[in-house]
Symmetry: C2
Subunit: 205 residues, 2 copies
């Protein structure tokens, strides 16, 4: 049996879709979390100076989306043919574009640029993406792709949690399809168990 070790800050963010998928697969994993003050000494030891990483039998893997796609294949959540896999990959990258726009605003070090980005983010980017997602889920039987659970659904719910908190905006407000979608994902028994047992997280990255 393979040994899995996940290393990240003590927050959900980019690690949480991996934690959700490992839980969905009922794979035991070491959930190694560090505090922000440990990061300067850890950063130089990480591939490209970034986390999360997942170690499988000591082999170090970076890039959370690639890791999630790999785990999703094992879970049967990465598409039943190449076309469906394509649609799921597109949905995940659309979700990542929104996540990244939020992240770039929240972590922008220049105060003036941060203020400018906030205006674009809240007036244009978030309404555009969230309204599209609301419609896509409405038109696809309550899921992102083809009326069935996929990697994209788990990814959206797991990764957006932290960025919504960081942004201090309820992005699901007034979007009933996405509210029902979130409930459905969090009601999956293995994910419900994970949420019930996961440690409280700090708010700092």
């Amino acid at each position: 049996m393979s040994v899995y070790k996940l290393t990240y800050f003590n927050v959900p963010a980019l690690a949480e879709p991996i934690r959700f998928l490992l839980s969905y697969l009922e794979i035991d994993f070491e959930d190694s979390r560090f505090e922000p003050e440990q990061w300067p000494s850890i950063k130089p030891t990480m591939p490209f100076g970034k986390v999360p990483i997942l170690e499988i039998d000591g082999k170090i893997l970076n890039q959370s989306t690639a890791i999630c796609r790999y785990l999703s294949k094992k879970a049967g959540l990465a598409g039943s043919d190449e076309w469906e896999s394509l649609l799921i990959d597109i949905a995940v990258d659309n979700i990542n574009d929104l996540r990244q726009a939020i992240s770039l605003q929240v972590f922008e070090p220049n105060e003036e640029s941060k203020a400018e980005k906030y205006v674009t983010l809240t007036n244009e980017t978030i309404p555009l993406y969230m309204n599209n997602f609301e419609n896509i889920v409405g038109e696809n039987g309550g899921y992102f792709v083809n009326g069935k659970l996929s990697f994209a659904d788990i990814y959206f719910v797991a990764v957006m949690e932290f960025y919504i908190i960081m942004l201090k905006m309820d992005l699901l407000n007034g979007r009933p399809n996405l509210q029902a979608h979130k409930k459905k994902v969090l009601d999956i028994p293995q994910i419900k168990s994970w949420i019930a047992k996961r440690p409280a997280f700090s708010m700092q990255l």
Copy 2:
């Protein structure tokens, strides 16, 4: 036979890996290019207001990396098993992180933030990524993954061309493994033919 139509600005950038892969597959495609002044009227008609899009038999696909992965599977360039596909996906996302860091600096609208980003990009991000890529290609028999041509190799050469031009820095200078790697990709007969026949591009996005 399916009908392929690619829509993008008249530059390589995010569309070029798709053009390389369609050429590699010897798939005829309509290479629809527009000028910057046409963009305001095109943008609202595009998924999430972005390009490139690829239409296959009229079905509109966005997200260039997802499209490339789909085409790569048809070309046998997406990995021979799930583990190799994971390693290729990781390599592509590492490449995308560098591409995006360059893009975020080049297109940063705030002048002060743009200057700050330039310092981080040239002193930290570019050396870190390019030196790692040089080593990775050196350690993997001249390719990004497992000593054989994959999606990651074509993606790197095709996507970086434009961003290197935008940045006005020769990122391959002093990196012989990456120079040889570029030559090898551009010497693939179908890619060589594409380069010989592709239209001259404008420098504006």
